[in-house]
Amino acid sequence: MIDEAKLAVLTDEELARHPFDELVVALQQTVQKLEAGSTGLEESIELYKQGLRLHAACETRLREAELTITELGRRGVTGAEAEG
């Protein structure tokens, strides 16, 4: 998971390589934290910046995503086949 500490040390490029769902969850949590209103103004601004970074990373991932396809071994290639 991406927490605040991790976010602080990651570059934008590194961030954009994270699994999409982690980015979305982190973004969601950041927004919820902001909305809770329990943070000070300084911290709120930091959270907002994080939110923007996460949003940008999500968009990058979406834009550059390409379907990956792996095909498991056909007959005889995997152990599971042999018993048939």
């Binding site: 699994p19 999409f20 769902d21 979305v24 973004l27 969601q28 950041t30 927004v31 902001l34 909305e35 209103g37 943070t39 103004l41 709120s44 601004i45 959270l47 907002y48 939110g51 923007l52 949003h55 999500c58 968009e59 991932r61 979406l62 995503a65 390409e66 379907l67 990956t68 396809i69 792996t70 095909e71 498991l72 071994g73 056909r74 995997t78 599971a80 086949e81 048939g84």
Partner: protein
């Protein structure tokens, strides 16, 4: 399948290029060559290499090799059929004399004996009535075993990273799933576990393909899919082994078989039933085109929250400021009060001074009234005898006696001419 057409090569057209002109001299073939030629002919026929045949099983034999040979016949005709060991073990039914079956396979020539026969890949009982009866029987049996319970259904992961797909690698289904996910959620990795999905061999192949996937790590969701077809075509998905393998999936599994109206027993055992393979792909993934909107909404919410936060702070500060103002000592008022006090003190002092002065003035006036000088000033005089005694009675002095008469300014030395008491008129004058 391509229709039979004029392009279909005839026995003569297919003659080798180096053959001599047919009409010039008949060519003598060896038996082997003839059989080979017939075999090539059958192998090249697109219908015969992939054929479905319905007929009655006659006199099946099961030699020690494990294969099965039988005759498939109808009222007018018959053909030799071979069901090899591997296919036999996967077959939905074991051929029995008199059994009506549908077989799938290919027709080939067996050169050593100069016969052609049907090489069976799958064999299923013929007759929808039979299948329906078996379907219903198996359904109630598996339902009783609890395989279709709603309580077994797990939610489909919302953000899958790896989706395992069990289907035929050739054909529209795999292509459709690919297309849907390319458009909809290209962030996912598809892991294809290929299988045949049709015929009697389908069931064990599907089970193996599922198990291959189950052995993989980090698969979030499994999709088992195939296109539509008749009840016979879809029979593999009604196979008890397949249904149990679906129910045994370690991760949520979506089954999308055929078209909307096709419901197989595997559908019932799945965590989620999709009406079609494409729908299965859609149900397995979020829609990336909506994701952009959702993400944008997150950003907007963050912005709104921050602005709200700033406004909160401003309101807070303003409230604090007001509170401070309220709590601060009121210097102006204090100054006013002090001034008032000073004024009042001053006034009190003044009044006291004035009173004191008035009192002093009174005293002074009284003093002045009592002072002989003041009396003298008003025109009175004091008569003193030589020894200094003040004369208050005329009878005290004698004629000729010296008297000093003191007036306001100076002293007059006199001598008494006559002394007498005065009457009232004299005093009033």
């Amino acid at each position: 399948m391509a229709p039979e057409s004029a392009e279909q090569p005839s026995l003569w057209d297919a003659a080798p290029a180096d053959a001599e002109p047919v009409r010039a001299a008949p060519r003598i073939l060896r038996v082997t060559d003839l059989n080979r030629r017939v075999r090539a002919l059958l192998d090249n026929d697109p219908t015969l290499v992939d054929v479905w045949v319905e007929g009655e099983v006659s006199q099946p034999s099961f030699p020690p090799s494990g294969h099965c040979f039988f005759t498939l016949k109808d009222a007018n005709s018959q053909i030799r059929a071979a069901l090899f060991r591997e296919e036999l073990t996967r077959a939905a039914v074991r051929p029995e004399h008199g059994m009506n079956v549908i077989v799938h396979g290919r027709v080939r020539a067996y050169e050593p004996q100069g016969v052609y026969q049907l090489y069976v890949e799958s064999i299923t009982p013929a007759g929808a009535g039979d299948l329906h009866a078996r379907y219903e029987a198996l359904r109630s049996q598996l339902a009783a075993a609890g395989l279709f319970e709603d309580s077994r259904k797990r939610p489909i992961p919302r953000w899958p990273r790896r989706i395992g797909v069990v289907t035929s690698p050739v054909g529209a289904v795999w292509r459709d799933i690919n297309n849907v996910l390319k458009r909809r959620y290209p962030l996912v990795e598809l892991v294809l576990s290929p299988t045949v999905v049709q015929g009697a061999t389908a069931a064990p192949a599907i089970v193996r393909a599922l198990e291959r996937l189950y052995a993989q790590e980090a698969i979030d969701t499994v999709i088992l899919a195939r296109g539509g077809g008749s009840l016979e075509d879809l029979w593999g998905f009604n196979d008890e082994r397949v249904v149990k393998a679906v129910a045994a999936s370690p991760v949520p599994i979506i089954v999308g078989v055929g078209h909307e109206s096709d419901v197989t027993l595997a559908d019932f055992a799945a965590d989620l039933r999709a009406p079609t393979p494409s729908a299965a792909a859609e149900l397995a993934t979020p829609d990336a085109t909506q994701l952009a909107t959702i993400l944008g909404r997150f950003r907007d919410r963050a912005t709104t929250a921050l602005i709200g936060r700033a406004a909160d702070r401003r309101r807070f500060l303003e409230a604090e400021q007001r509170a401070l103002v309220r709590l601060a000592p009121d210097i102006g008022a204090a100054r006013q009060r002090t001034a008032d006090l000073i004024d009042r003190g001053g006034r009190a002092l003044d009044e006291r001074l004035a009173r004191r002065r008035a009192s002093l003035d009174g005293t002074r006036d009284a003093l002045r009234t009592l002072s002989p000088l003041a009396t003298l000033e008003r025109g009175y005089a004091i008569a003193r005898r030589v020894d200094g005694r003040i004369v208050r009675d005329a009878a005290e002095v004698a004629a000729g006696e010296a008297l000093q008469v003191v007036v306001a300014r100076g002293t007059v030395d006199t001598r008494v001419e006559q002394a007498r008491p005065h009457d009232d008129e004299e005093l009033l004058r």
